[in-house]
Symmetry: C2
Subunit: 230 residues, 2 copies
DNA sequence: ATGCCTTTGTGAACGCGTGCACAAAGATGG
DNA sequence: CCATCTTTGTGCACGCGTTCACAAAGGCAT
């Protein structure tokens, strides 16, 4: 397939074709009217604009369960990311081989970053250590951080942080799951209500559709509230 | 602190206070004018609306490096998620203990889901197996999936999928990283150009600021294009 | 060379989320 | 019981991203 139309690409990606064309136009990618986009050239343009044509050395800090899994993940190398080093504070870990790389002690963090020209750091330490590690990374010259610890990191301007919080991912799923269940329950309730009922909560349910199952007063069940705080 | 104002909360979260109040109003959470929100009641309301007051059994499929790390992750339990079972296709894994749980063979997937009432599944298998695993999960009654494999999953309507793609997270960081570097380089170029130059690419750079370093024609360097496809 | 047909690139309109600003509510003190 | 002061809840306007729709461009057949 030497060429594709915006229509085909849009269908494959599940987006609107106009949006796709406009997005392409931002990076100056010229297609050919009446034909479409040259696949090879397009891929090259997007790769380059996304920074995929260059090699990005990254450092992983905190080689526990997660850090070790990340170190051995093949999906990074194929996208141009190279693990330049593994760092852990635990002396017992130092010198160990993980995914073919030697784990180095935290003391070596700064020289490693400077020697390898690392600008992207991955934090996989416990939450308590994350901010301190972050500070050292930034101080040493790292300007992009991928954070797996469940903490909000404070960084100076110019430094980008992306946080991957798996609990939140699950929470979002659970939220929609509950919503699905709630809607079904509501349908059943509505049917039951139609059959014969005399209360007044129906008016409330209509007036405020987003607030399902609003407790009147303070929850009748006296269970402890806070599951929320991390 | 028995009560908080929307202003305080907004400052802490780094958002606009009006937005925060409006969001709260959607879930019918009543504050008290002139005082603020009762912390305990608010936490309870949000927890309940988010589905955090109930226990969610989850099943993890694919107990490799990543799956094992997830199985042992304490952050799930504290948010109300309980690992109901670990599933792997590898017979050599079956029966092994991982994070205090016994790994079960794929054959036991359906009974496990039905017995435990699992509605959330986590896929940590290789990309090639993900769609097949997904199909089986959905067939068995799972309606929410957290997918770590780098594949787009096709699911019937009513099933939610969230994808965690670590490579893309890194790519986003790399993109901004490149942009930062590009801006610096452009400043230097502009200075150099001001000093004394005779080309014409400057006009292009002004006309289309989003398209930095646009190659005229097809890149002079004959390097292979495609780093992009997964 | 000419006309037709396909597909791009983009101006204009639409819709939605965000932020502003203020009236209403309620607590608190006199 | 009334006045004052704080803070909520929300109508309204603004801005941005998305989508529509179409003129211009270019290939291709005749
Ligand atoms: N395991 C998961 O699936 C998972 C999922 C989501 C989030 N997380 C988060 O990722 C982080 C790591 O999880 P884990 O399961 O790998 O934990 P872990 O305890 O297995 O590993 C943490 C590692 O960090 C090292 N460490 C501690 N302090 C350090 C410091 N100051 N500098 C360098 N290294 C240090 C420890 O020696 C240990 O090897 C945690 O914050 C956790 O909440 C983990
Ligand atoms: N390791 C990481 O840090 C990381 C990061 C991002 C994404 N991922 C993705 O997560 C997935 C797992 O990564 P990993 O490093 O743990 O790989 P892995 O090879 O260590 O583990 C994969 C596991 O899945 C099992 N498996 C294979 N087919 C199966 C099937 N049909 N049913 C059930 N189990 C099956 C295998 O037996 C193996 O135990 C991959 O798709 C990978 O691309 C991994």
């Amino acid at each position: 397939m030497p060429t594709v139309s915006s229509e085909e690409l849009a269908a494959a990606a599940g987006v609107n074709s106009a949006k796709l064309r406009k997005d392409f136009s931002y990076l100056g990618s010229y297609g050919t009217r009446g034909v479409g986009y040259d696949v090879e050239y397009l891929v090259y343009q997007i790769s380059r604009e996304l920074g995929l044509t260059q090699d990005w050395p990254v450092v992983i800090v905190g080689i526990g369960n997660l850090g070790a899994a990340l170190a051995g993940y093949g999906g990074f190398a194929s996208r141009g990311f190279r693990v330049a080093g593994l760092i852990d504070a635990d002396r017992a870990m130092t010198g160990k081989q993980v995914a073919g790389l030697t784990v180095r002690h935290t003391d070596e963090l700064e020289p490693l970053i400077k020697e390898s020209g690392v600008s992207i750091g991955v934090i996989a330490t416990p939450a308590g250590a994350a901010q301190a590690v972050c500070n050292r990374l930034v101080e040493a010259g790292v300007t992009s951080i991928l954070n797996f610890a469940p903490t909000v990191l404070n960084v100076p301007e110019g430094v980008d942080v992306r946080k991957v919080d798996l609990s939140i991912e699950l929470q979002i799923l659970a939220f929609h799951e509950q919503r699905k269940a709630g809607e079904e329950a509501e349908l059943r309730e509505a049917e039951a209500a139609a059959a014969g009922q005399g209360g007044k909560p129906a008016a409330d349910a209509v007036a405020r559709p987003a607030a399902r199952k609003k407790r009147t007063g303070q929850g009748p069940d006296g269970d402890v509230p806070a599951v929320m705080p991390a």
